[in-house]
Symmetry: C2
Subunit: 373 residues, 2 copies
């Protein structure tokens, strides 16, 4: 019996992965409040072979290191966006509903199962690669709070990985690279006046209308690279103006979110926005998350894509594959969650996806090519 | 020596009115926090002949009632908008600067001086009319908090007045009637989506742009009535949208302030706004303050206008003349403050205006026509 066969025989079935995902959903973990979930994950990993580290609300588990063996990292964030009446897990119609069902407690459940933190699992020392699991905090908020960020200095060996797989929701497709994301505040100035004497001022919102029309006219643009197609988008996402309801507003400020393909860097994205703003607005770049290239030619990524008949597409969002890519670690997104339901009130995951994601990863990590699914 | 001469001889000069205004500026009285100023005014009125009532932070002073004698009310609000680095009074270049210098602590100082609350003054029992002084709270905020509102039930004799003079800033002009003011919230709906997948949603701000263009195109309109000209205005004063900077906004909401002439009522103003909104927005009228007619034909108003060579114009704002007008009391605005500096960081009043305003009112109230200034 090969270790892979043994692992497969002893693995719990899809129903158990559903129960495990429901257990994780039932521990709320809105960004900044991941302590209870980190403790639950760490407790489960205590039963698994290997070492477990905790840094803040980041939990990292590592199997045995074997000289010369490439390291593969499985990574996922513990936090969710706030619940929308969907805090409690609920099974219906072959799906599991609840906050984080897709983004990404189903991915965390698969990670835990593969680590041996949820019943019998294939032994890490029988894997084709050295393995590490990274459960981290604060992915859904501003990049400076991102839990993975601090781990690069605390666990420098992470950057030596040969491959990282982010179990972000992809509906069991291989989603390559990621879009970059730039947030900028655009401010248009006017001059305040009493609203009964508007001719003494200049309405900043009215002055902003030509600029807003230009921004609204920017349609999504397809950018093909590495065999997949990204869609660049630009949206005004928040806006505010007004110092009082009797006052002609002297400033209009909006947040623009520009998602850009890995064919260009943050500077080029910022330059596009400044050109759109022209002389009409002050542009303050608030933060930038770089894009990550598809890395489809990298041998491990290529093997992953070749072995499994997975849909392959661009990651139409920003994910932490970009942090790995920035350190030279090829990375891809592959997880059971369904991206279209992420951050929605009806967030859910098909139960069949859980077992499918686990089977693909188990075969890839434990079984040499040709023996796989 | 006539009482009027005696009063004039004994009255403090313009410098004293400046000091009194500065004293009132130095007692902060932002809306909702008028207690200290109300106490100061009540203490000064304690030295004046007549009765003083206090209701909340409203202070009302009444001279002797004489059967058959018409009642004239002088009224002014105690509150100011919040300071903008101008809380402390400061004299420079023949002007007094500071929060409330124009709107309307200079008017309050003239009222106090005429009541005898700031040194010798013409005696109320020598006046041509019975006299009352109303110092009230919360004029600069939503109408439901307006201090004058509650006085109609607590002091019903106020509505028996033959004339009310509001010492709002008019730069010593007679400003007749007032504009009505309607505030409405307009909401345009969209559909939320992740900002990297905007084609799954509909940006509410973008949907609002045609409506905003229509609103911005509404220019001030002149409306002549009663020998003066009002300018109707419509302005979007505040706006907001966005539930998160990664989210295509599902709603855009703005406040529209419509100032309308006394030739039409609130219903007609609301109907105009609804027609502008059409099917693009939900319209919720938040509050309405009715307009007041010029009342230039009323005998006491006509006498006031005829006796003094005052500039005469429409009140291009809403004031509490509307509350008097709604109860059948003709009312006009006449005060030393300068409307253009009201609510501005450089709010100020020319010191010469203080004595001018007092002289006009003293002559009108104490001296029969022909003997006046």
């Amino acid at each position: 019996m090969s270790p892979a066969d043994g692992g497969a025989a002893a693995a719990p079935g899809a129903a158990d992965l559903g129960a495990l995902t429901a257990e994780l959903i039932a521990v709320p973990s809105v960004s900044g409040d991941e302590g209870a979930l980190a403790a639950r994950v760490a407790a489960r990993l205590a039963a698994a072979p290997g070492e477990t580290f905790r840094h803040g609300n980041n939990v990292v588990h590592r199997g045995p290191r074997r000289p010369g063996r490439p390291l593969v990292v499985l990574a996922g964030h513990l936090d969710t966006v706030p619940p929308q009446g969907n805090a409690a897990p609920r099974f219906a119609d072959g799906r599991l509903y609840g906050r984080g069902a897709s983004d990404m407690k189903s991915g965390l459940a698969v990670m835990l199962a593969l680590a041996g933190g949820a019943g019998p699992a294939p032994p890490a020392e029988a894997a084709r690669y050295d393995l590490a699991w990274v459960f981290y905090e604060c992915e859904e908020v501003a990049f400076e709070r991102n839990g993975l960020r601090r781990l690069w200095s605390e666990l420098p060996w992470l950057a030596e990985a040969a491959l990282a797989i982010l179990l972000e929701p992809t509906d069991c497709a291989a989603e390559l690279g990621c879009l970059g994301s730039l947030h900028a505040e655009l401010t248009v100035r006017g001059r305040a006046a009493h609203s009964a004497r508007p001719w003494l001022g200049e309405n900043a919102l009215y002055r902003a209308l030509p600029l807003l029309a230009r921004l609204a006219a920017v349609a999504p643009r397809e950018v093909g690279v590495g065999g997949v197609t990204y869609r660049e988008t630009l949206q005004v996402t928040t806006a505010r103006c007004g110092g009082g309801r009797n006052v002609v507003p002297d400033a209009f400020t909006c947040n623009v979110n520009l998602r850009f393909a890995p064919t260009r860097g943050a500077e080029a994205a910022a330059a596009e926005l400044r050109a759109l703003a022209g002389a009409d607005a002050e542009v303050a770049v608030v933060d930038v998350s770089p894009a990550a290239p598809p890395a489809a030619e990298h041998p491990l990524v290529a093997e992953f894509l070749a072995r499994f008949a997975l849909p392959r597409r661009a990651k139409q969002a920003w994910t932490d594959v970009a942090q790995f890519a920035a350190r030279g670690v090829p990375a891809l997104n592959f997880g059971p969650g369904v991206p279209e339901t992420a951050h929605q009130a009806d967030e859910s995951v098909p139960l069949a996806n859980l077992e499918r994601a686990r089977a693909v990863l188990r075969d890839f990590l434990w079984t040499a090519g040709g023996e796989g699914a």
